[in-house]
Protein backbone atom coordinates (compact mmCIF):
# COMPACT_ATOMS: atom_id res chain seq x y z
CA UNK A 1 0.00 0.00 0.00
CA UNK A 2 1.11 3.46 -0.80
CA UNK A 3 1.13 5.78 2.17
CA UNK A 4 0.51 9.48 1.59
CA UNK A 5 4.13 10.19 2.40
CA UNK A 6 5.26 7.66 -0.14
CA UNK A 7 3.12 9.30 -2.78
CA UNK A 8 4.47 12.75 -1.99
CA UNK A 9 8.03 11.53 -2.33
CA UNK A 10 7.59 9.88 -5.70
CA UNK A 11 5.81 12.83 -7.29
CA UNK A 12 7.33 13.51 -10.72
CA UNK A 13 8.82 16.83 -11.74
CA UNK A 14 6.93 18.54 -14.54
CA UNK A 15 8.89 19.22 -17.76
CA UNK A 16 10.56 22.65 -17.91
CA UNK A 17 13.40 23.36 -20.38
CA UNK A 18 12.02 20.49 -22.45
CA UNK A 19 8.69 22.20 -23.16
CA UNK A 20 9.04 25.95 -22.51
CA UNK A 21 8.94 27.89 -25.76
CA UNK A 22 12.11 29.94 -26.29
CA UNK A 23 11.38 33.57 -25.39
CA UNK A 24 13.47 36.48 -26.62
CA UNK A 25 13.81 37.39 -22.94
CA UNK A 26 15.36 34.12 -21.79
CA UNK A 27 17.35 33.54 -25.00
CA UNK A 28 19.16 36.88 -24.73
CA UNK A 29 19.70 36.33 -21.02
CA UNK A 30 21.36 32.95 -21.48
CA UNK A 31 23.31 34.33 -24.44
CA UNK A 32 24.61 37.10 -22.17
CA UNK A 33 25.83 34.38 -19.84
CA UNK A 34 27.39 32.29 -22.63
CA UNK A 35 29.22 35.27 -24.09
CA UNK A 36 30.43 36.18 -20.60
CA UNK A 37 31.97 32.74 -20.07
CA UNK A 38 33.38 32.75 -23.60
CA UNK A 39 34.95 36.17 -22.99
CA UNK A 40 36.51 34.81 -19.79
CA UNK A 41 38.47 32.33 -21.92
CA UNK A 42 39.32 35.13 -24.33
CA UNK A 43 40.72 37.16 -21.47
CA UNK A 44 42.98 34.25 -20.49
CA UNK A 45 44.21 34.00 -24.08
CA UNK A 46 44.94 37.71 -24.23
CA UNK A 47 46.97 37.40 -21.03
CA UNK A 48 48.98 34.68 -22.76
CA UNK A 49 49.44 37.00 -25.75
CA UNK A 50 50.79 39.80 -23.59
CA UNK A 51 53.00 37.33 -21.72
CA UNK A 52 54.42 35.89 -24.97
CA UNK A 53 55.08 39.38 -26.31
CA UNK A 54 56.97 40.23 -23.13
CA UNK A 55 59.00 37.00 -23.39
CA UNK A 56 60.52 38.00 -26.73
CA UNK A 57 60.28 37.59 -30.47
CA UNK A 58 60.43 33.75 -30.52
CA UNK A 59 57.28 33.17 -28.47
CA UNK A 60 55.51 36.15 -30.03
CA UNK A 61 55.92 34.73 -33.55
CA UNK A 62 54.82 31.30 -32.42
CA UNK A 63 51.67 32.84 -30.93
CA UNK A 64 51.08 34.97 -34.01
CA UNK A 65 51.03 31.81 -36.13
CA UNK A 66 48.18 30.44 -34.06
CA UNK A 67 46.26 33.73 -34.16
CA UNK A 68 46.61 33.97 -37.93
CA UNK A 69 45.46 30.40 -38.55
CA UNK A 70 41.89 29.80 -39.65
CA UNK A 71 40.86 28.48 -36.23
CA UNK A 72 42.53 31.45 -34.55
CA UNK A 73 40.75 33.91 -36.81
CA UNK A 74 37.44 32.15 -36.31
CA UNK A 75 37.82 32.28 -32.55
CA UNK A 76 38.82 35.93 -32.65
CA UNK A 77 35.77 36.72 -34.74
CA UNK A 78 33.49 34.93 -32.26
CA UNK A 79 35.25 36.76 -29.47
CA UNK A 80 34.57 40.08 -31.19
CA UNK A 81 30.92 39.10 -31.56
CA UNK A 82 30.77 38.10 -27.90
CA UNK A 83 32.32 41.28 -26.56
CA UNK A 84 30.05 43.48 -28.66
CA UNK A 85 26.93 41.57 -27.65
CA UNK A 86 27.90 41.41 -23.99
CA UNK A 87 28.60 45.15 -23.91
CA UNK A 88 25.46 46.21 -25.79
CA UNK A 89 23.22 43.85 -23.85
CA UNK A 90 24.88 45.08 -20.67
CA UNK A 91 23.51 48.53 -21.44
CA UNK A 92 20.00 47.06 -21.16
CA UNK A 93 20.78 45.85 -17.65
CA UNK A 94 21.95 49.36 -16.72
CA UNK A 95 18.73 50.85 -18.03
CA UNK A 96 16.64 48.26 -16.20
CA UNK A 97 18.54 48.97 -12.98
CA UNK A 98 17.32 52.54 -13.38
CA UNK A 99 13.74 51.45 -14.08
CA UNK A 100 13.95 52.31 -17.79
CA UNK A 101 12.52 50.13 -20.58
CA UNK A 102 11.09 47.35 -18.42
CA UNK A 103 7.77 46.97 -20.21
CA UNK A 104 7.55 43.90 -22.43
CA UNK A 105 7.32 45.89 -25.71
CA UNK A 106 10.47 47.85 -24.74
CA UNK A 107 12.26 44.67 -23.68
CA UNK A 108 11.49 42.99 -27.01
CA UNK A 109 12.33 46.06 -29.03
CA UNK A 110 15.64 46.71 -27.25
CA UNK A 111 16.58 43.03 -27.45
CA UNK A 112 16.04 42.97 -31.18
CA UNK A 113 17.93 46.24 -31.53
CA UNK A 114 20.90 44.79 -29.60
CA UNK A 115 20.97 41.71 -31.86
CA UNK A 116 20.91 43.72 -35.09
CA UNK A 117 23.48 46.24 -33.84
CA UNK A 118 25.74 43.39 -32.68
CA UNK A 119 25.73 41.78 -36.12
CA UNK A 120 26.32 45.08 -37.91
CA UNK A 121 29.13 46.21 -35.59
CA UNK A 122 30.79 42.78 -35.65
CA UNK A 123 30.82 42.75 -39.46
CA UNK A 124 32.12 46.32 -39.71
CA UNK A 125 34.86 45.79 -37.13
CA UNK A 126 35.68 42.38 -38.59
CA UNK A 127 36.25 43.98 -41.97
CA UNK A 128 38.37 46.73 -40.39
CA UNK A 129 40.53 44.16 -38.56
CA UNK A 130 41.00 41.50 -41.23
CA UNK A 131 40.63 43.33 -44.56
Amino acid sequence: MDTIENKTNKRPLSPHLQIYKPQITSILSIFHRFTGVFLAFGLLLSVIFVFFTAMGEETYKWWNCIVNSLVGKGLLFLWLLAIIFHALNGVRYFLWDNDIGMSIPSVKWSGLFVCVLTLVLTCVLGILIWM
Partner: protein, 109 residues
Amino acid sequence: MKNVVTHRKFQRYSALAISPLSIWIVYSIICMKGSSFQETYNWFSNPFNAFFMAAFFIISFLHLKLGLQIIIEDYVHNLKHRSLTILSINIACYIFAGIAIFSILTMLF
Protein backbone atom coordinates in the same frame (compact mmCIF):
# COMPACT_ATOMS: atom_id res chain seq x y z
CA MET B 1 32.55 38.94 -2.06
CA LYS B 2 30.10 38.22 0.77
CA ASN B 3 27.79 41.25 0.69
CA VAL B 4 25.49 40.84 -2.27
CA VAL B 5 24.74 44.56 -2.58
CA THR B 6 28.46 45.43 -2.79
CA HIS B 7 28.91 42.55 -5.20
CA ARG B 8 26.29 44.05 -7.51
CA LYS B 9 27.77 47.53 -7.24
CA PHE B 10 31.24 46.31 -8.16
CA GLN B 11 29.88 44.26 -11.03
CA ARG B 12 28.11 47.32 -12.45
CA TYR B 13 31.00 49.75 -11.90
CA SER B 14 33.57 47.35 -13.37
CA ALA B 15 31.34 46.92 -16.43
CA LEU B 16 31.18 50.71 -16.80
CA ALA B 17 34.97 50.92 -16.59
CA ILE B 18 35.65 48.09 -19.04
CA SER B 19 33.46 49.49 -21.85
CA PRO B 20 35.67 52.47 -22.85
CA LEU B 21 38.80 50.38 -22.30
CA SER B 22 37.52 47.66 -24.65
CA ILE B 23 36.68 50.24 -27.31
CA TRP B 24 40.21 51.59 -26.97
CA ILE B 25 41.69 48.07 -27.25
CA VAL B 26 39.67 47.17 -30.35
CA TYR B 27 40.69 50.51 -31.86
CA SER B 28 44.35 49.76 -31.05
CA ILE B 29 44.09 46.29 -32.63
CA ILE B 30 42.74 47.87 -35.82
CA CYS B 31 45.55 50.47 -35.85
CA MET B 32 48.25 47.89 -35.13
CA LYS B 33 47.18 45.18 -37.55
CA GLY B 34 50.09 43.64 -39.43
CA SER B 35 52.65 45.28 -37.17
CA SER B 36 55.93 43.55 -36.38
CA PHE B 37 57.11 42.20 -33.03
CA GLN B 38 59.16 45.32 -32.36
CA GLU B 39 56.22 47.63 -33.06
CA THR B 40 53.96 45.64 -30.75
CA TYR B 41 56.65 45.61 -28.06
CA ASN B 42 57.15 49.34 -28.39
CA TRP B 43 53.41 49.92 -28.12
CA PHE B 44 53.42 48.11 -24.79
CA SER B 45 56.44 50.04 -23.49
CA ASN B 46 54.55 53.32 -23.86
CA PRO B 47 53.54 54.22 -20.24
CA PHE B 48 50.09 55.41 -21.35
CA ASN B 49 49.33 52.12 -23.12
CA ALA B 50 50.87 50.08 -20.33
CA PHE B 51 48.77 51.82 -17.68
CA PHE B 52 45.47 51.34 -19.50
CA MET B 53 46.28 47.75 -20.44
CA ALA B 54 47.03 46.98 -16.79
CA ALA B 55 43.80 48.71 -15.76
CA PHE B 56 41.89 46.71 -18.36
CA PHE B 57 43.25 43.40 -17.09
CA ILE B 58 42.66 44.15 -13.41
CA ILE B 59 39.10 45.41 -13.88
CA SER B 60 38.24 42.66 -16.36
CA PHE B 61 39.40 39.95 -13.99
CA LEU B 62 37.36 41.56 -11.21
CA HIS B 63 34.28 41.59 -13.47
CA LEU B 64 34.95 38.00 -14.56
CA LYS B 65 35.36 36.81 -10.98
CA LEU B 66 32.10 38.47 -9.88
CA GLY B 67 30.18 37.19 -12.90
CA LEU B 68 31.39 33.60 -12.63
CA GLN B 69 30.59 33.58 -8.92
CA ILE B 70 26.92 34.23 -9.72
CA ILE B 71 26.89 31.48 -12.35
CA ILE B 72 28.49 28.96 -9.99
CA GLU B 73 26.02 29.88 -7.22
CA ASP B 74 23.19 29.29 -9.69
CA TYR B 75 24.24 25.88 -10.91
CA VAL B 76 26.44 24.23 -8.26
CA HIS B 77 24.20 23.32 -5.34
CA ASN B 78 26.59 21.29 -3.20
CA LEU B 79 27.96 23.92 -0.79
CA LYS B 80 31.41 22.34 -0.53
CA HIS B 81 31.82 22.04 -4.30
CA ARG B 82 30.45 25.54 -4.71
CA SER B 83 32.94 27.25 -2.43
CA LEU B 84 35.80 25.16 -3.82
CA THR B 85 34.93 26.13 -7.40
CA ILE B 86 34.60 29.81 -6.51
CA LEU B 87 37.88 29.68 -4.60
CA SER B 88 39.75 28.10 -7.52
CA ILE B 89 38.27 30.66 -9.93
CA ASN B 90 39.44 33.46 -7.64
CA ILE B 91 42.95 32.00 -7.40
CA ALA B 92 43.13 31.57 -11.18
CA CYS B 93 42.02 35.19 -11.61
CA TYR B 94 44.78 36.45 -9.30
CA ILE B 95 47.41 34.31 -11.03
CA PHE B 96 46.46 35.40 -14.54
CA ALA B 97 46.07 39.05 -13.54
CA GLY B 98 49.51 38.73 -11.93
CA ILE B 99 51.02 37.31 -15.12
CA ALA B 100 49.47 40.15 -17.14
CA ILE B 101 50.82 42.86 -14.81
CA PHE B 102 54.24 41.18 -14.66
CA SER B 103 54.43 41.05 -18.48
CA ILE B 104 53.34 44.66 -18.87
CA LEU B 105 55.90 45.81 -16.30
CA THR B 106 58.64 43.79 -18.06
CA MET B 107 57.97 45.59 -21.31
CA LEU B 108 57.67 48.96 -19.59
CA PHE B 109 61.12 48.83 -17.98
